[in-house]
């Protein structure tokens, strides 16, 4: 039987050339506005002001291609890209929920697109009002005192929080002494990487074999007068809620440290838990996860950093404030960590998230977490019926929150087929591939599907059916998996340039140079 018939799916395969292989010399796709003759006559040859060595001799080698060809090329590339709108897309740890189209229509308005960030505040009261109100809504949702919307993504938010922790200890004269951040290995990698980038030594705790989170004694042993703070994700990507959280907060505070919680996985705890009430000093939300803004092919995302009352003075400048009559940008915050990026953040995503929150309201937000958690636990039940699939820490945690991290270790032992192979085969059925796990792989042969509230039951069943069939194939016809994907746009990719300086090419110019060197 042909592969297509088995799955009924085949990806678009245009064999689309690299854009440099298209077009003709002298062709162009856009005409720039003509400069008025009077201007030309008055200013003369302006480029002659540029000294010879700084004047470009050859125009940059951009593609030479017409507008219809550009459109066709990128439409084809879009067709060879699989978004949330394309089909079953449950890439875990990423909360791939549907982004409502009305929010998109709103942010495409020239009333937002054509605003310059340095306009007089009198002229931007509308957008400042949205930023201000959105911050207030986040305060209610999280129990924090104030938010900065400046970070561009989760890692940036964690970096911002690490800097705030430094600023706090510096102000207290303890920065030299407090140079350690404690994190847990099942937290997102940025909880290690970003504090290290901010100059901290990072102490990583590993999960207990039975509970799936660190033993409280392990934390006690790690805490000392060197502790600057704890930076961790809760709930974890395993969908397990670290129930020691309250105890951690207490221990860290007693030791004089701060607690920053990465709430990238907040979707399942919205309206169920306010991290500020637990005593977190800092937290962040990813607007492109829990708050529905589109993932945009890997950004721009957006993150909101929340601080407790005591720590809000350290939040980046400026913050949007209101004097009762009008909104303004407050730069007069001497303890602030300063700017963490240019201007004020990914404003379009804030507007989308604001519109989404208005659509949800209090009841809707409660339904978000409810449906997401039901979806996930239903999926867990179904997937565990499949041969070769197991759920580490199942005994201690049969119920999970937003997602679960499964293992195909048994399948691998039985058949030699591991998760990478399964992922390649999954594509043949018209599904987006699965998140495996961040490094290190604490769970062997991991996969992490996350079915947010916008996932219909039919998708969960289809996902289960596909995985069941692949499992069956692994036991009966592993070859078909090992040679997958069969129905994708391309066949297996030659990975060897990854580590071969003679063959890697990050640009077309490098590719041409290296291939001609080889000839």
């Amino acid at each position: 039987m042909r592969q297509e018939e088995m799955t009924g799916y085949h990806a678009v395969n245009w064999r689309e050339p690299v854009i440099y292989q298209l077009g003709q010399r002298g062709r162009r796709g856009h005409r720039t506005p003509k400069v008025e003759e009077e201007i030309k006559a008055i200013v003369g040859d302006v480029t002659s002001h540029i000294p010879n060595e700084m004047r470009r001799k050859e125009s940059p080698k951009l593609p030479e291609i017409s507008e219809p060809e550009v459109v066709r090329h990128y439409i084809r590339l879009s067709q060879q890209t699989y978004g949330v709108d394309s089909g079953i897309h449950m890439h875990g740890t990423c909360t791939m929920k549907y982004s409502p189209k009305v929010d998109e229509a709103i942010v495409r308005s020239p009333k937002l697109a054509d605003l310059h960030p340095l306009q007089d505040v009198e002229t931007v009261q509308g957008i400042l009002g949205i930023l201000y109100e959105f911050g207030k809504l986040l305060c209610e949702i999280s129990g924090m005192a104030e938010f900065s919307l400046q970070p561009r993504g989760g890692a940036h938010a964690v970096f911002t929080n690490a800097r705030i922790i430094r600023a706090y200890h510096k102000l207290n004269g303890e920065l030299e002494q407090r140079n350690e951040i404690i994190t847990t290995v099942l937290s997102h990698p940025c909880n290690g990487g970003a504090p290290a980038a901010a100059g901290f030594k990072v102490v990583t705790l590993y999960p207990d074999e039975e509970t799936g989170y660190p033993d409280i004694e392990a934390l006690k042993a790690a805490v000392s007068k060197r502790t600057a703070g704890l930076m961790m994700t809760d709930p974890y990507d395993t969908g397990v809620f670290d129930a020691n959280l309250e105890e951690y907060v207490k221990l860290i505070h007693e030791a004089g440290g701060l607690v920053a919680i990465d709430q990238a996985n907040a979707n399942s705890v919205l309206s169920r838990l306010r991290i500020g009430d637990v005593g977190a000093d800092l937290c962040h939300f990813n607007l492109h996860k829990s708050f529905s803004t589109p993932h945009a092919s890997t950004g721009p995302g957006s993150a909101a950093v929340g601080a407790s009352k005591e720590l809000s003075k350290f939040l980046p400048i400026p913050l949007v404030r209101s004097d009762g009559n009008k909104y303004y940008l407050d730069y007069e915050r001497p303890q602030s960590v300063g700017k963490v990026g240019e201007f004020y953040g990914v404003i379009g995503n804030v507007v989308r998230a604001y519109a989404w929150l208005l659509a949800m309201g209090a009841d809707g937000l409660r339904e978000v977490s409810e449906v997401a958690v039901i979806n996930n636990n239903y999926l867990i039940k179904k997937l565990l019926e499949i041969r070769g699939v197991s759920l580490p820490w199942q005994k201690a945690h049969p119920i999970r929150l937003q997602e679960a991290r499964f293992s195909l270790q048994k399948l691998k032992e039985d058949t030699g087929i591991g998760v990478e192979d399964v992922n390649h085969r999954m594509i043949d059925f018209g599904l987006q591939d699965m998140e495996t796990s961040h490094e290190p792989w604490i769970v062997p042969e991991p996969f992490t599907p996350e079915p947010p509230e916008t996932t219909p039951k039919e998708d969960l069943d289809r996902f289960t059916e596909v995985l069941r069939q692949i499992s069956q194939e692994a036991y009966t016809n592993p070859e078909i998996i090992k040679t997958a994907p069969h129905n994708a746009a391309i066949s297996r990719v030659d990975q060897s340039p990854s580590h071969d300086p003679a063959r890697w090419a990050m640009t077309w110019r490098a590719y041409l140079r290296k291939t001609s060197d080889r000839k």
């Binding site: 690299v18 092919s297 594509i427």
Partner: protein, 442 residues
């Protein structure tokens, strides 16, 4: 579904959150709104804004007004690009290819073979570039010009403050150019890199790029150049005047200003393993597949980033700005070699006309620095007895947004504003500005 799970209600599922911290009340949020109500409410708020198109704006300073071809919005509205995330090359082939094409075109603009995954903005990639230099040279000092963009200096301090001494190099009083005497005095065997911007934050072209790079290299330091990419339609690419690392801001390449919320940082370097291995972000290479005639793409040295190395990477990466990179690829391919040159030259003609027109206004000095300028320039009003703030308030009354007030960031320049003129400004726009200024300072 609850039956399948084996629980009576969803509440049972939330029992995994300890009772003591579970929220037992409804959040105090507004009632749920319908699509129509949302639109009416949010668009109602947005309608209070007066945009840079409704007004006549001369603001730039890191976010510049340029015409965005309709095709750019058409492509970045494609829901596949808009809603994809991190699928691998088999499901997201188009996303990878578009990224490779973005990298390729930026590589041509700056004359470098390696371009990395698109990142937040100029400030943050300047920070990354500086960190790269510290690692590559194993030295602990950065030299940067006093004219550096303030947000970029702030990012350099945030990213490198503990690891390096950041020393400011003075400028020539007359032409603003980096003071090479001061550079030579301060550079030493401790210097990891010399960072300059071209065009500078204050709008003029740093004309001695080659000499600056040479001084850096003679001391075993790297040369980092930050760029605004459209200027590279007429300026020599940094890769040809000795830069080791280039960073810059891609917003002018097809992104609307979005209140400063649509920025796109990029990093480029030469194809030297020790250099590119220090880039904290993903690197995509072109490759082939088992089937003849197919292009594939994969990651270069993936083990070096935070994703694999966690804290050992001593850097962070993650969700970047790929939708904007795709848009920039569309923009650059529409313009082509001829279009970008014409655009850059046209911008320069308009900005020079504007400088000439404004300099006719009594008491106004334009520009402060006697150097060639690209699209931005300084306008000093000290001799008019007015402040920039007063001038801008008065301009706004006539529907004009004057240049950025530099008083807070560069107090030594007195009452000076940074104006930006691009292809979106017609002769009559510029004349209108000049007449309004004449009226105000009279």
């Amino acid at each position: 579904m609850l039956d399948e799970i084996g629980v009576k209600s969803a509440e049972d599922l939330f029992a995994v959150i300890p009772e003591s911290i579970r929220l037992r009340r409804n959040l105090n949020l507004p009632h749920s709104k319908s699509e129509y109500e949302i639109r009416r409410h949010v668009e109602g708020l947005l309608s209070r804004n007066r945009t840079s198109k409704e007004l006549l704006s001369f603001l730039g300073a890191g976010c510049w007004p340029h015409y965005v071809p309709a095709v750019c919005d058409e492509i970045n509205s494609r829901s596949e690009f808009l809603t994809a995330y991190a699928g691998d090359v088999y499901t997201d082939l188009g996303r990878y290819q578009a990224l490779f094409e973005f990298q390729s075109m930026i590589g041509e603009l700056v004359a470098m073979d390696v371009v990395s995954f698109p990142w937040y903005d100029w400030a943050t990639v300047a920070g990354d570039a500086a960190r790269m230099a510290l690692t590559i040279t194993d030295r602990h000092e950065l030299l940067v010009p006093k004219t550096i963009g303030p947000d970029r200096l702030s990012a350099l301090r945030a990213y490198c403050g503990r690891l390096a001494d950041i020393k400011l190099i003075g400028r020539d009083a007359e032409n603003g150019q980096l003071d090479l005497g001061d550079l030579k005095d301060k550079i030493s065997s401790k210097t990891a890199a010399v960072y300059v911007e071209n065009p500078t934050y204050l709008g003029f072209i740093e004309t001695r790029g080659k000499e600056i790079s040479k001084i850096a290299r003679d001391h075993g330091a790297l040369s980092i150049v930050g760029v605004e990419p459209l200027s590279l339609g007429i300026l020599t690419p940094p890769g040809e005047y000795g830069a080791d690392i280039v960073c810059g801001e891609g917003q002018p390449l097809g992104m609307h200003m979005n209140y400063g919320g649509a920025l796109l940082g990029f990093i480029a370097c030469h194809d030297i393993r020790e250099h590119l291995a220090t880039i904290p972000h993903r690197l995509i290479t072109i490759t082939t597949t088992k089937t003849k005639g197919e292009w594939g793409f994969t990651y270069v040295l993936p083990e070096r980033t935070m994703f694999a190395a966690r804290e050992k990477a001593k850097s962070f990466t993650g969700t970047g700005t790929v939708l904007w990179a795709i848009t920039a690829a569309v923009y650059m391919s529409l313009l082509g070699p001829q279009g970008i040159r014409e655009l850059a030259e046209g911008i320069m003609q308009r900005s020079h006309y504007a400088m000439k027109r404004i300099s006719e206004v009594k008491g106004v000095k334009v520009p402060i620095f006697n150097s060639p300028h690209f699209e931005e320039f300084t306008v000093n009003v000290d001799a008019t007895g007015k402040t920039v703030a007063e001038v801008n308030k008065a301009l706004l009354k006539s529907g004009i947004l004057g240049g950025k007030d530099l008083l807070r960031e560069f107090p030594e320049l007195g009452q000076t504003a940074l104006y930006c003129v691009t292809e979106v400004h017609s002769k009559s726009d510029i004349d209108r500005l000049a007449s309004a200024l004449e009226e105000i300072v009279r």
